[in-house]
Amino acid sequence: MTARLPPGLQLEKVDDRIMTLNVGPQHPGSGHMRLIIQVDGDRIVSCDPDPGYVHRGEEKMAEYRNYITNIPHLERPVIHDSCNILYPYCLGVEELLGLEVSERAKYVRVIASELNRFTYTLYWLAIYGIFLGHSTMFMWPAGDRELAIDLLEKLTGARVTHSYFVPGGVRNDLPANFEDVCLRQINYLEKRLKAYADIFYDNPILIARTEKTGVLSREDAIRLGTTGTVLRASGVDYDVRTKEPYDVYDELDVHTNVLKNGDSYDRSKTPWLDMLESCNIIRQALEKMPKSGSVRVKLKPNPKGGNDEVYKRVESGRGSLGAYIVSRSKPEPYRVKLSVGSFRNLICMPYLLKGEKLGNMPAVYWSLNYWPVEADR
């Protein structure tokens, strides 16, 4: 009686040589997801990603809360990148409600979202290190992440899940002396990031392990709809921050890092190069930021939008992150849809893992910059 079991649990005998393996759902990475892998010896014949274990119905929940009380739960899918996941939502609601955000608030937002890029990407890098058995590369990013977390804690009052961005600006102004502390810690963080080159990125063992595994060609990257670091590792120069600048990114000099091989090595390197670029962005923003001014528009209780819909997107740590919001003249949104980078990057997993050795699976899986909780929402 195997017919009624869910996929992956059936004992189907395809061939005497082929064996079905379930990787997950208790995955040592982050959040739960399962890969149903069929192997012939140690070659992967097919891979079927099975997400959905951490679906929380965030989009449905958003229909029952007003534009402000939606903030704490909408940032839950990626608690390490909570400013970036709220960013498109706030930009969208601002357009729906017709709010004009002050120049200073825009700069503060850029700083907070770039700091969040560190906290997310360093966490991701730490897990990538431990996936490959490189425990030093787990310890260093996990420790250095504290520098960015400390800055965010001073700025927003929470180490993760900051609830900092609101439609109309940010919750509070910078604390006293923040600019100096930020500059000092970012300069030190940049020095630390550069130290990763010798031990990790130029390490012949890592290169042998990840080079030419899971190669995603430029054409496939575009065809499968990947975004962010995965797309840039395949040689496509696309970054929402430069192509469709939001807030003050058009006033800042943002350099996009494009690598061309599209293998796991390049995909693991682009986030690191992005972090180095984030140091430059934060320094520019601190310099150009207006020294005073309001950071938050005063809203009336239960603000309402018109009969309108809006789509906004930003560049998050995992790729382009969009929010589609429909308003029907009520204090609650009629529909909120998050279009997340993780899910789009997940789509290329079956293509990349086919024909790969089973031992290379973690290197390819985590290089796709996939965050299970965000993909499931």
Binding site: Y64, R65, N66, I68, T69, N70, I71, P72, H73, T136, G143, D144, E146, L147, D150, E153, K154, L155, T156, G157, A158, T161, S163, R171, N172, D173, L174, P175, A176, F178, R184, Q185, Y188, A195, D198, I199, F200, D202, N203, P204, I205, I207, S294, V295, R296, V297, K298, L299
Partner: protein, 165 residues
């Protein structure tokens, strides 16, 4: 770069870190410093004041029992319940004040943004663990107490690296 040089450089980089200071924060022997006394909000300007979002602090001499904080929390965590207080205040006719369940609260601070009378702030107190769920429910009189928070270390950066000192 050859394989051998690469491996030697990687090892060398690791060995050099023996001289780098230890970054670990030795909690609970050491505790981090925070900016300010906790997150606060100024209803006249509509902007918050930076600070840590920890346990709340309620000022009984200012709270009017208007319930706006409880209404704000309804959409978030339903952590606030309005309860009767034995005290009598001229400005609080119904004698009701918020009671906060920290088993539910997510420390977003939206209730602080909602209070129009400067009565509800957040503090630096984050050590709220308890053995029972009931002990997590803080009554208005418990919320009135200003917490004693030990704060001694901050991140220090020098030539030998960053450390908590």
């Amino acid at each position: 770069m050859g394989t051998a040089t690469g491996i030697i450089r990687a090892l060398n980089s690791g060995i050099k870190h023996l001289a780098v200071k230890r970054f670990t924060l030795r909690y609970p022997e050491e505790k981090l410093k925070f900016v300010g006394d906790g997150y606060q909000f100024d209803p006249t300007t509509g902007v918050g004041i930076a600070g840590y979002k920890g346990r709340h602090m309620l000022f009984h001499d200012k709270c009017t029992g208007c319930q706006l904080c409880a209404i704000a929390c309804e959409g978030v965590a339903e952590a606030i319940a309005m309860v009767k207080v034995p005290e009598e205040w001229k400005h609080n006719k119904k004698s009701i004040m918020p009671q906060i369940d920290y088993g539910k609260c997510v420390f977003c601070g939206l209730c602080v943004d909602a209070c129009p009378f400067y009565a509800l702030y957040m503090t630096n107190d984050y050590e709220l663990s308890s053995f029972t769920k009931e002990a997590l429910i803080y009554t208005p009189s418990q919320l009135q107490v200003k917490p004693e928070v030990k704060q001694d270390v901050d991140i220090v950066i020098d030539d030998r690296g960053a450390t908590h000192g």
